[in-house]
Amino acid sequence: MPLLPEGHPEKIFREDGLRLDGRKPDELREIRLEIGVLKNADGSAMICHGKNRIIAGAYGPREVHPRHLAQSDTGILQVQYRMATFSVGERKTPVPGRREKEISMVVQHALEPVLFLEQYPNSTIDVFIQVMTADGGTRCASITAAALALADMGIPMRDLVTGVAVGKINNKPILDLADYEDKWEEGAADMPVAVMMNEKKITLLQLDGQVGIDEYEQMLNLALKGAEKIYELQKEALRKKYTSELVGGR
């Protein structure tokens, strides 16, 4: 237990207009993506997004257990988002809480549109997401990683899904909120977005806070700009993994 309570910064922007970690308002944190990190999963990926460390493993298509969840006209996607007990400052109870159930559901809904689930009746595709370290924007990072895990599994997909968070602080739109920015309360809003970049279709959009119409449009454009960059990183990660396999095989 820290002797002093966790402090909040007094200001959220520096004198020079940059954010506290030195980013510009429309700058992403450093993102590193790795494919195939789990040997026993059919497909897997890890994302290091700022201080976030998230691992996603995908399995299937396989039989549904318990059987009553199976649907005879379509396959199902089951997503399990869990945070490790050590992923946040104060120990998180391992019991899945309301927040984890919600995020599991929104990630599932964000990924479903890219899959051809109707091809796999009575089957399930399982995605397990484990947050090892959380530092804001985990649901978006989870979507980014889960999409890569599904692609690594070799299941047909229309597109990859890219998640990115936008928000505003002191009524100023910013991209990719870190944990301390998420907790700021003055003129703040938080909007996680997931996009299928090829068709520019939005598969997840949540909004926490109050924004005007122009502000909303500004934030959405910012999100698309950020997602574009992450999408390139996703494609790059997949190519790198399999190109190295091609070279390694020779």
Binding site: V114, A151, K235, L238, L246
Partner: protein, 316 residues
């Protein structure tokens, strides 16, 4: 099915009558021609080109040997008369051909194909598969065939142990007249599931499958039935065509260079059976090499060299 396991007694000599004949290799070539999906795939987005990818290059279309890796959703070009979506691709609302897999790009005539690196086996009618019996009751067996669901083998579809004597599809509890006729044919023999036991490894053929029900198998036909001895190994399903080679060329090569028999099932399981354990081990090594280098050009020649040099060591 375990990744790799050894059946008992492979080091011992194999009785001659049990040895599979040469036609094992030939039987693997059955799936080389066109395989347009049947009608019940309806509006399935996974269009298959009329030309199945068989792993071999078409007369030096690409010299570099390095192929482009594409990702899901990547636009491969606009659809037009000279560019049609083949395997692993789909048309998006804008009329562009997009990739469905992480895989490498292959152009086959007018068709653009994407050959995935990984994938799960999806049963198709007519496929020969190797499965393990995981359950049985009075009328049927259930088999694990590496597919999303278990496969069913009904007692009537299992033949009577005399492989190949019955006509294809003569068994089965489908229709009264057939049943009556068969009862006479078999001299009143009972249909039950005493023939195979849980744990047996079976080569079977997919008799029917339509996505909504479990695949139904049959073991009536040449090469089908229980297998004994040898090795079973798994390889990635998208790499199967490369292991078979064009018109079975790779299998024939491996069969002539070693004294082992090789059966490659469409569900990613390979059965190896030889007289000498060293040759069987060499074959396993070679198959792993083929799997790792499946995307490279000139593989057949390199495999030939590799096996020939290794065989010298084995014989010495």
């Amino acid at each position: 099915m375990s990744e790799f396991h050894e059946e008992g007694g492979s080091e011992n000599e194999i009785p001659e009558e049990e040895r599979a004949e040469d036609d094992i290799a030939d039987s693997n070539t059955f799936d080389e021609d066109d395989n347009l999906d049947d009608a019940d795939h309806g509006e399935a987005p996974l269009e298959e080109g009329p030309q199945k990818f068989d792993g071999e290059e078409e007369g030096g279309q690409e010299e570099s040997g390095m192929r482009e890796v594409v990702t899901p959703g990547q636009v491969l070009g606009a659809r037009n008369k000279d560019m049609l979506p083949g395997f692993g691709t789909v048309i998006d609302p804008k009329g562009n051909i997009i990739s469905l897999y992480v895989g490498f790009l292959q152009k086959h005539g007018k068709y653009v194909n994407v050959i995935p690196f990984k994938g799960k086996y999806m049963p198709r009618v007519g496929d020969k598969v190797i499965g393990k019996i995981i359950d049985k009751n009075v009328v049927l067996w259930k088999l694990d065939i590496n597919a999303p669901c278990v496969a069913i083998l009904r007692a009537g579809d299992a033949g009577e142990g005399d492989r190949g004597r019955h006509e294809y599809g003569s068994g089965g509890s489908r229709g009264g007249t057939q049943q009556v006729r068969r009862r006479f044919d078999r001299g009143g023999k009972k249909e039950d599931t005493s023939q195979y036991n849980v744990g047996d490894i079976i080569i079977a053929k997919v008799l029917k499958y339509d996505r909504t029900t479990e695949p139904t198998l049959t073991t009536v036909g040449p090469d089908l039935g229980q297998i004994r001895g040898g090795f079973i190994m798994d390889i990635a399903v998208p790499k199967i065509p490369r292991l078979i080679g064009k018109a079975g060329s790779m299998i024939k090569l491996l069969n002539t260079l070693t004294s082992c028999k090789l059966f490659v099932a469409q569900n990613g399981v390979v059965w190896i059976k030889g007289k000498k354990i060293d040759e069987e081990r060499l074959l396993i090594k070679t198959i792993k090499k083929i799997e790792n280098e499946a995307h490279t050009v000139g593989l057949t020649d390199r495999v030939k060299e590799f096996v020939q040099s290794e065989m010298k060591k084995v014989k010495a």
